[in-house]
């Protein structure tokens, strides 16, 4: 478990209580990479997210931990969206097979973009695009934005300088 920079006590307690309540489940999960997703689902979601926020001179969605973010939220605040994710992944994998005969993640970038552009207006795509943005641009404590990847990219001072005043700027 990653140590959060700024733990909120109440959430910590809630998490701690949750862990205590399901010891058996945690044991069977030992060694698994994901809390909710299967490896196949995570693979598809990663491929989609890397099109939404592609890697270039800066990290893309997957290397910034966006899949971890989504996986974690699907066992947390977004638990109510579990079905939507499973269905969305199944649908796009079926389309990948029908159209190109391969898994989505194995397709060429242009083929992936074809399938995603067709789905741009669907509820599933909008949802995953928004969640990818949250994972990439949001606070790292939620599993994404690994090593402050997006904040570095945007030039946001980290850690912030506290107590700074702009005394050199005076009213014109």
């Amino acid at each position: 478990m990653k140590i959060s920079r700024n733990p909120d006590r109440r959430r910590f307690l809630r998490t701690a209580a949750g862990v205590a309540a399901i010891p058996a489940a945690s044991c069977t999960r030992a060694g698994r990479r994901w809390r909710f997703l299967t490896d196949e689902q995570a693979d598809t979601i990663g491929a989609i997210c890397d099109q939404i926020i592609p890697p270039d001179q800066d990290p893309g969605a997957v290397s910034a931990g966006v899949v971890h973010f989504i996986d974690r939220q699907l066992k947390g605040h977004y638990a109510y969206l579990q079905d939507a994710y499973i269905k969305g992944v199944v649908e796009i994998e079926q389309a990948a097979q029908e159209k190109f005969g391969k898994r989505f993640s194995a397709l060429a970038s242009e083929q992936q973009l074809d399938l995603l552009r067709e789905r741009e207006k669907t509820a599933f795509f909008r949802m995953i695009a928004d969640h990818a943005m949250q994972g990439f641009y949001g606070d790292p404590r939620h599993g994404g934005n690994r090593d402050f990847a997006s904040w570095k990219m945007m030039g946001i001072p980290n850690p912030p300088v506290r107590g700074r005043q702009q005394h050199d700027l005076t009213k014109s």
């Binding site: 909120d8 606070d139 939620h142 945007m154 912030p160 700074r164 702009q166 005394h167 005076t170 014109s172």
Partner: protein
């Protein structure tokens, strides 16, 4: 065990309730202050970009934090309805904690302008709107605005604003030094012949009230202030109320209904305490300060023989005229960095377009926006950039530090059909019918918004923006953190809910003291007006009692 009778029970500890509790307690009345939420300390600031009161995609950290227990129903234009939860936009959440919205707000401290209290007289009636004058004037409230500014604490410099109402005293604290956006926007406004000045803020710019000054971090609106420099009721009047020895604050107390006696006077309230026990608190006076949505809901859920449709609602005005602010403005791309990471970000405003706009009823203030945290920034992308992919990422990388946002709250035209009801089917965890919200903005509100966004765009262009785009609101219901209007103040009991001293018509010991009583909501953030009205109502309540 029966609870000891008190002189006053105040429901809700936000901008309105916190002040009333303190004023009454300081005058020697025994007060029970009931709050649904918890007391959140500055140490819980958390600085979590995705879980705060402005961006609540992963939860509303200032409550209601238990989503499932606190649903509401939102009715869409086509009649469809959905159950909504606090972390989602359609819920129109404000906050649920000690201090209410003041614990996490951006803290702009505006006085409404004299014309804002007399819109109908100034502009005439507006078709399809319940536009009306307030039964009180700016002059009535002026001493109480001043009291709020000094007791809660306001910094800023409004002297250069020629449009403001008369005032006896300057603000108690100077403005914070300008940040880079301010330094770019202020001269541009002057070149346009406008009248820029330093936004009044309920934020310490120097040590005040026993608390330190703002340290200028980027996590301001939506967060508790880590160094307690933001001034809310939770760190000013509520501690003072408790220190008087006359006020007891009970958190996690969920009021179900107001109880009347046989004669039609309020006897007290029934509430569920933190151990989920049903309690009854009797009181001489009951003050409802739950915010425009929950105050209306509580009145509507308090039914009796005399008030079969909810207390104070015999003329069907409770819950009506729900309004907030149609936020409008523009974004601009500058040829140089404007982001200097110096919070709170918002600093310079103009009131040139609040009134006197040709063909328009009112208008609104314009100012630069608070610091846009990275995920918030994505909500302000230009229309020519795709919503995802390489171009989207490129844009964020290139322009985040160079994008400036000017925006402001449009004074809305109140509409009768924008309303809160008690839902006939859906109940909360405690079995109380939830708030059901329906209605839309008045078309003229959108016309004003369109005009204002163009003025914002001009300002940005003059400041050097090479490319700009406007951001105008849709016509869906607005309420949110600026929610107001549902228990209108007026002299005629047939067309209003409370009198000019916030007392419910027909129930002479029941008051509503929050933005519910606003007849119109100003072209400004409403909190200082809520505070001034709380002092005004307390003053008259105490006067009537003595």
């Amino acid at each position: 065990m029966a609870l000891e009778h008190v002189n006053a029970v105040v429901i809700g500890s936000g901008a309105g309730g916190g002040i009333v509790a303190k004023e009454l307690a300081a005058a020697g009345m025994k007060v029970a202050l009931l709050e649904r939420g918890r007391w959140i300390s500055p140490y819980e600031c958390a600085k979590d970009d995705l879980r705060n009161q402005r961006t609540s995609v992963l939860g509303a950290s200032f409550g209601p934090d238990d989503e499932e227990r606190n649903p509401r129903v939102k009715v869409e234009k086509d009649g469809s309805e959905q159950i909504v939860y606090p972390s989602r936009g359609a819920y129109n959440n404000n906050a649920m904690c000690v201090g209410g919205g003041t614990a996490s707000y951006g803290a702009m401290a505006w006085r409404f302008m004299p014309q804002d209290f007399r819109l109908k007289t100034t502009y005439g009636a507006v078709e399809g709107s319940t536009l009306e004058d307030w039964p009180i004037t700016y002059d009535d409230l002026e001493p109480f605005y001043e009291q709020a500014e000094y007791e809660i604490g306001v910094s800023g410099d409004v002297v250069p604003d020629p449009f403001k109402g008369p005032r006896r005293k300057p603000l108690p604290m100077p403005p914070l030094p300008p940040n880079r956006e301010y330094a770019v926007l202020r001269p541009a406004a002057l070149r346009l012949g406008l009248h820029p000045f330093d936004i009044p803020m309920l934020r310490n710019s120097v040590p005040y009230g026993g608390r330190q000054a703002c340290m200028r971090c980027r996590w301001c609106v939506g967060f508790a202030c880590e160094v307690n420099a933001k001034c809310g009721t939770q760190n000013t009047v509520i501690p003072a109320a408790l220190a008087s020895g006359n006020c007891e604050l009970r958190t996690e107390a969920i009021v179900k209904e107001i109880v009347l006696d046989a004669g039609g006077k309020a006897r007290g309230v029934k509430y569920i305490d933190e151990k989920e026990r049903l309690r009854e608190q009797t009181a001489d006076v009951v003050i409802v300060s739950c915010g425009a949505i929950e105050s209306a809901r509580l009145l509507l859920n308090s039914k009796s023989r005399l008030f079969p449709n909810g207390i104070g609602n015999n003329h069907d005005w409770v819950g009506r005229n729900l309004q907030g602010h149609a936020y409008t403005g523009a974004n601009g791309l500058m040829p140089f960095d404007c982001y200097d990471d110096v919070g709170p970000g918002a600093g310079v405003a103009i009131c040139d377009y609040n009134h006197g706009n040709k063909g328009l009823v009112g208008g609104g203030m314009l100012c630069n926006e608070f610091i846009r945290l990275p995920y918030q920034f994505l909500g302000r992308m230009p229309p020519w950039i795709p919503a995802w992919g390489k171009e989207h990422k490129d844009f964020v990388r290139t322009w985040y530090r160079r994008a400036v946002n000017v925006q402001g709250p449009v004074q809305e035209m109140p509409v009768f059909h924008a309303r809160v009801e008690a839902d006939p089917k859906v109940k909360d965890y405690w079995g109380v019918p939830v708030a059901r919200m329906s209605g839309n903005k008045h078309p003229h509100t959108l016309e004003i918004a369109d005009f204002m966004s163009r003025r914002a765009e001009e300002w940005l262009k003059e400041a050097g923006a090479t490319r700009t785009w406007r951001r105008v609101p849709g016509d869906d219901l607005s309420a949110g953190q600026h929610q107001a209007g549902t228990c209108r103040m007026g002299n005629d009991p047939k067309t209003s809910v409370v009198d000019k001293h916030c007392r419910v018509h027909d129930v002479d010991n029941l008051y509503v003291v929050d933005a519910s009583v606003h007849v119109t909501n100003g072209g400004f953030n409403p909190v200082l007006t809520i505070m001034a009205i709380a002092y005004w109502a307390s003053h008259h309540l105490l006067k009537a009692r003595s």
